[in-house]
Amino acid sequence: MDLSFVLLIELLYAIASLILISSGLAVVFGMMKVINLAHGEFIMMGGFVTIVAENAGVNIFVAMLLVAPITVGLIGLVVERLIIRHLYGRLIDTMLATWGLSLFFVGLVTMIFGNTTTSITTPITGFSVGDYQVNGYNFFVILVAISLVTSMYIFLKTTRFGLIARGTMQDPDIATALGYSPARVYMATFFCGSALSGLAGAVLAPLVGLVPSSGATYIAKAFITVIGGGPSLIFGLVSSSAGFGLVNQFFTFYISPVYGEVALLISAVVLLRVMPQGITGKYFRGKM
């Protein structure tokens, strides 16, 4: 009984962390069709910003939920203005440019912080469920993921900017004809996507060994989740995170972590064979 409760928490945590690391990419790739290979590095920088802010005396929750997303969002803004905006619609060129960018960020962070930076401890202590110890911080990660998805949904569905953003992604020409500037919408969207990546890095910072090259750990899983999710931003993100998280945790617990990783990749391949457009290409069509 205790064990199944603990496993349920771990499962929810795994799904929540997949949602977090993929949300920024889902916005940038899913909405704008920009393949951002520096996505992992945005996450990594979110973590480093949190460490720096916390060491400077900022409250850790402020550092994670405000300072890191805004800082990384601003870095994203600069990147969009200097590089990405010249490459819209040029898929391969964007890949090359953002890959270079990812190497640049790894080098830059290594130069500033070196290879070993002391991370921060989780602000919430572990607690016991029967005979088991559970990481209390897991609940915080789950909570952040739930609020993130809810607020993204409300924002896109009910606000005027959300409507404009969705419209521009669907058909930039019509949006222009109606008097909106796609360039500015793209800029704002890229800012939001980068900020979400920064948030993910910040929230996960107390749980992972953070080094400048950590971005590589996230990038593959983020892409698999977003592509597996398909065209709908929010339904796709949640459904594929839930599916892959479940498969990965099940095999990790009952067989071994090696099979957990293998099962995740196999299920991704099978999923894309059965549903080439991703989960939401087949189900929940037309939803967000």
Binding site: L11, A14, T121, T217
Partner: protein, 407 residues
């Protein structure tokens, strides 16, 4: 003649070729070519960068003392970018194009195996200066890192005496992790214990939540973790975050080799048991001088770690060999090294074991304490007994393989 785009290319390539050639001619006459191949960028940069710094420091020291055989050393170094396939490429480059006199390098066991045969075939003496799983038996290679019998045999009984008989092992999923896990199992059994759980982790796994639940379901007395790389560091953080750190003791054969104990906060790291050849906290004159020299060259000495020191000592050992041989010739060098050469380095006395080409060295049992390694017990001049049991290059110099422990 105006410079068009085409003849600009021709002229400049001719110039480049001329410079390169003249350098090559000069180099062949006046310097010893010292090859190095390490991951100084990418995922394993935390290991490789300080190793590279240590190698350059050792070369600088040798050059400032007048070089070897009256010649200065010239470093030819390649960055393999944490990409195993680049090792084969740069291994060929070093031996066939640059024609270096010696190669030091390789970090992961996978990278060593990628270049070892190239070095063997081209008769280029090869030094692998890293803690590893033991068993390599090849006349052309010299290894000065600690092996399982020098490390796990010390670590396992002590950790078990502090906890209990039931041990859970978490290892990295490649040759190092698999072979080391078998050694740990052997030493656990010899101490009357039992391995109650064994899990392997691909190098990019960073989420250990369900593993931590699984460990608790099994309920061992001790966890031993030969985990490798940055992603695996997450285990130690999530273990502490779930409050397990004070419930089940933890030991590791790898944590701290790349200064990982400085990434963990004191609350997360304190109490983890390790055993290595080197610690920055070793209180010896040679270590102090080494740290001072490092700080003078690179600003501060924080980056120094276990395998950076191994690399430094590997270069010094090779230099002693060359001095004694009076030549760079492979056979002369090997005979000189086999005659029982030893050096005194920052980690203490390191001697070449003629039978296996491994090292006889000191091992310190340590506990992490406020991001430092506090020495509990030191053992001097331990033999590489695991490799000695299977490998004898004196009676069988043609041997060329890596022995693995059969259980």
């Amino acid at each position: 003649m105006g410079i068009s785009r085409r003849n600009f290319v021709q002229i400049s390539s001719a110039l480049v070729a001329a410079t390169v050639l003249s350098q090559a001619v000069l180099a062949a006459e006046n310097t010893i070519k010292f090859g190095s191949v390490l991951d100084t960028s990418g995922g394993f940069a935390a290991y490789g960068k300080p190793m590279d710094m240590a190698m350059r420091l050792a070369v600088k020291k040798i050059n400032s003392e007048g070089g070897l055989l009256g010649k200065q050393l010239e470093v030819v170094a390649y960055d393999t970018q944490s990409d195993m396939s680049l090792y084969s490429q740069y291994g060929q480059q070093l031996t066939r194009v640059d024609k270096v006199d010696v190669v030091h390098g390789g970090i992961l066991s996978a990278s060593r195996e990628a270049i070892r045969q190239t070095m063997h075939k081209t008769k280029t003496p090869y030094f692998y200066n890293v803690l590893y799983e033991g068993g390599v038996c090849d006349r052309n290679i010299f290894i000065n890192g600690v092996t399982p019998s020098q490390q796990a045999e010390v670590l396992v009984p002590y950790a078990m005496s502090q906890s209990g008989k039931n041990v859970y092992v978490l290892a990295a999923d490649y040759n190092y992790g698999h072979i080391t896990a078998r050694w740990i199992e052997k030493f656990v059994k010899e101490n009357g214990g039992e391995v109650v759980g064994l899990d392997f982790f691909p190098l990019d796994v960073a989420d250990f939540g369900s593993t931590i639940a699984k460990i608790q379901a099994v309920g061992p007395d001790l966890v031993i973790a030969p985990l490798v790389g940055a992603a695996h560091l997450s285990f130690f953080r999530q273990w502490a975050a779930s409050g397990m750190k004070d419930k089940i003791p933890l030991a590791s054969t790898t944590l701290g080799v790349g200064n990982e104990h400085k990434v963990l906060t004191p609350e997360e790291g304190n109490g983890i048991i390790v055993a290595y050849n080197y610690s920055q906290e070793l209180d010896t004159p040679l270590n102090k001088a080494f740290k001072q020299d490092w700080a003078d060259t690179y600003g501060d000495s924080n980056a120094i770690h276990e395998i950076a020191v191994s690399n430094y000592q590997g270069v010094l050992t090779w230099a002693e060999g060359v001095k004694k041989a009076g030549s760079l010739d492979q056979d002369a060098l090997i005979s000189a090294l086999e005659s029982g050469i030893s050096i005194n380095g920052p980690s203490g006395k390191v001697s070449v074991d003629a039978q296996t080409h491994h090292a006889v060295l000191d091992v310190h049992l340590m506990v992490l304490d406020n991001q430092k390694m506090r020495v509990i017990k030191s053992m001097s001049e331990l033999q590489p007994a695991d490799t000695q049991a299977v490998c004898n290059l004196q009676t069988n110099p043609e041997d060329n393989q890596q022995y693995e422990l059969g259980l």
